[in-house]
């Protein structure tokens, strides 16, 4: 019998509180070894890891690449895999490979098979793909089953056809099917981070509201503690609540710190929409067990009658190249916001002599307006600025041509009162122009209304 089958049988025979270890909120950036060992010593019934998010932007999804380095990702995967097999408990990984589309999932699976081979491990693995087939989605668009939210424009058939990858965030259903299929390891493409941890307790009959609330907190590791951090966190869930404890003794889960975590990256700290229903935290209570542990209760859950799957897709917008430079000339800095468009016009007159205007060129001036979406008026000028010119063009060569031309004419651009006639800008190194590869934007961020959400994410079983 495999790990999930064993756990389910054990809990059916003799119910008890369940312990879940949130090993990593972002697998692939390193799991602290000491606190992870402390977590394993507590013999959790499940080890879960979130591996990705939409927060990292559209390019990873579009390109099909991981945000984390292969070396660190492999090391983290090996750590959790060896521990889970050592305890014979399910290992559950969600949003494989940073963005959870086919290439991300396949790269993650290849690493897992490779680790298993090298370490002589053998196990049953469930795999759930999150890619939404284009014909299915096109039909959904035509029949009005896709809606917008957060002010996103309506999804068009072109969006579906032209996106590089489109994934749906799976909820608990596919995980429950996988756990019921008697497996040791579950690897999901794009998935709700809550489903990683809530699915097993829900399957075992624990209250879904509590399981979801617990999952929402432990998917971030020890971020809910003071001081917050990425150490593994242990949750012990019973039928009335759950107790949180960081596996790093320096991190304390206090009632306030845990309650405040409900704010994190959420637009509403009281209600959270999940594919399978709504989590209501308005009556949640947080009580200190001791100095470092907090008990949480009171969350409630409403199953949905109309399942919706959040879709994410990214489309290529061109090739990106940037110019990196700075200035310490007060006269240049004082005028630069007016000068840069003039430099852009000059560049256009040169690179568009024989070609149409087919690119965008924009500048961010760090020290003035490089970071802030809103800049107050009448700020005193900084002593130095860093400037990034960014071109997005149809080809890598074209983007490179634009930023290289820009570099030269920004360096020597004349302006009233100019004293530093040998050059306007400093380069930290040369070449100061960098090709960054394809650039993407999210063109799919919509809700898909379905009758059977689970049917979108079939569970495949593999023996490794």
């Amino acid at each position: 019998m495999s790990a999930s089958g064993r756990i389910i049988k054990e809990f059916r025979r003799s119910p008890r509180p369940i312990r879940l270890l949130g090993a990593s909120g972002q697998l692939g950036y390193g799991i602290p070894a000491v606190s992870f060992r402390a977590g394993i010593a507590r013999k959790p019934d499940l080890i879960g890891c979130d591996m990705g998010s939409i927060d990292i932007g559209p390019t990873y999804l579009g390109k099909g690449e991981m945000a984390t380095s292969p070396e660190a990702t492999r090391r983290d995967l090996r750590r959790v895999l060896l521990a889970a097999r050592g305890l014979d408990v399910p290992l559950v990984i969600g949003t494989a490979g940073s963005a959870g589309a086919g290439p991300h999932l396949d790269a993650t699976l290849a690493m897992i098979r490779d680790i298993a081979h090298a370490d002589g491990l053998s196990f049953r693995m469930a795999v759930m793909r999150a890619d939404i087939a284009r014909p299915v989605l096109l039909e959904a668009v035509r029949s009005g089953k896709v809606t917008s939210f957060d002010g996103m424009p309506d999804l068009t058939e072109e969006d579906v056809t032209e996106a590089s990858h489109i994934v749906g965030q799976m909820g608990m259903g596919p995980f429950r099917h996988a756990l019921a299929a008697d497996v040791d390891v579950i690897v999901a493409g794009r998935a709700c981070d809550t489903a990683i941890f809530a699915s097993l307790p829900a399957l075992l009959g624990f209250p879904v509201g509590l399981a979801m609330h617990m999952a929402k907190i432990i998917e971030c590791g020890s971020l809910c503690c003071v001081p917050g951090g990425r150490d593994p966190i242990l949750a012990e869930l019973d039928h009335d609540g759950f107790v949180l404890e960081s596996m790093n003794p320096e991190r304390r889960a206090t009632p306030i710190s845990v309650a405040a975590h409900s704010l994190y990256e959420q637009s509403d700290p009281f209600t959270m929409q999940e594919p399978d229903g709504t989590l209501d935290l308005s009556r949640a209570q947080y009580e200190a067990v001791d100095d470092r542990r907090t008990r949480v209760s009171g969350a409630t859950w409403r199953d949905t009658t109309a399942p919706t799957i959040k879709l994410e897709g990214a489309i290529k917008v061109g090739e990106r190249a940037v110019l990196l430079c700075g200035s310490a000339d007060p006269r240049f800095i004082a005028q630069c916001k007016g000068l840069l468009p003039k430099v852009a016009d000059l560049v256009e007159s040169l690179v568009c002599e024989e070609q149409p205007m087919d690119y965008t060129l924009r500048f961010r001036v760090y020290g003035i307006d490089g970071v802030r979406m809103v800049v107050p008026e009448n700020e005193p000028p900084p002593g130095e600025v860093f400037m990034m010119g960014e071109c997005i063009a149809p080809t890598r060569e074209r983007a490179s041509e634009v930023v290289r031309t820009c570099k030269q004419f920004l360096l020597h651009f004349g302006y009233p009162g100019r004293l530093s006639t040998a050059g306007n800008i400093a380069f930290p190194f040369t070449p100061p122009e960098v090709s960054l590869g394809p650039a993407y934007r999210f063109n799919v961020y919509h809700l898909l209304h379905v009758d059977d959400a689970d049917a979108l994410f079939p569970v495949e079983i593999e023996t490794v």
């Binding site: 927060d55 559209p58 957060d150 002010g151 704010l263 994190y264 959420q266 637009s267 979406m373």
Partner: protein
């Protein structure tokens, strides 16, 4: 007194790629109560600071976490060409100087 003199945490982050959320967390119930009543943290003033209409600013008091949450739309979707802050983690500065 400025908000940055009272609050324990003043942070910003995306809540999905199209919305920005700002959290202000206090170290004591007294500090929370004092600021929760302040017009400096009303939708009017926040809208003025972020140059968005007040009716598009949502302010959510969260006493159990001694916190106040502010939510608004991002002008540019995270990661779109022209974005300045893909994670939205550095848009809290306008809050720091709010007079309480």
């Amino acid at each position: 007194m400025k908000l940055s003199d009272i609050a324990q945490v003043i942070r910003s982050k995306n809540a999905g790629p199209r919305r920005l959320t700002l959290d202000i967390i206090f170290g004591s119930d007294a500090d929370y109560q004092r600021v929760a009543q302040s017009p400096g943290l009303g939708a009017e003033n926040i809208g003025r600071l972020y140059r968005v209409p007040a009716e598009q600013v949502t302010i959510i008091p969260y006493p159990v976490g001694r916190a106040i949450k502010i939510v608004m739309a991002r002008a540019i979707m995270a990661g779109d060409p022209g974005d300045l802050d893909v994670y939205g983690a550095q848009q809290h500065a306008p809050l720091l100087g709010i007079e309480i």
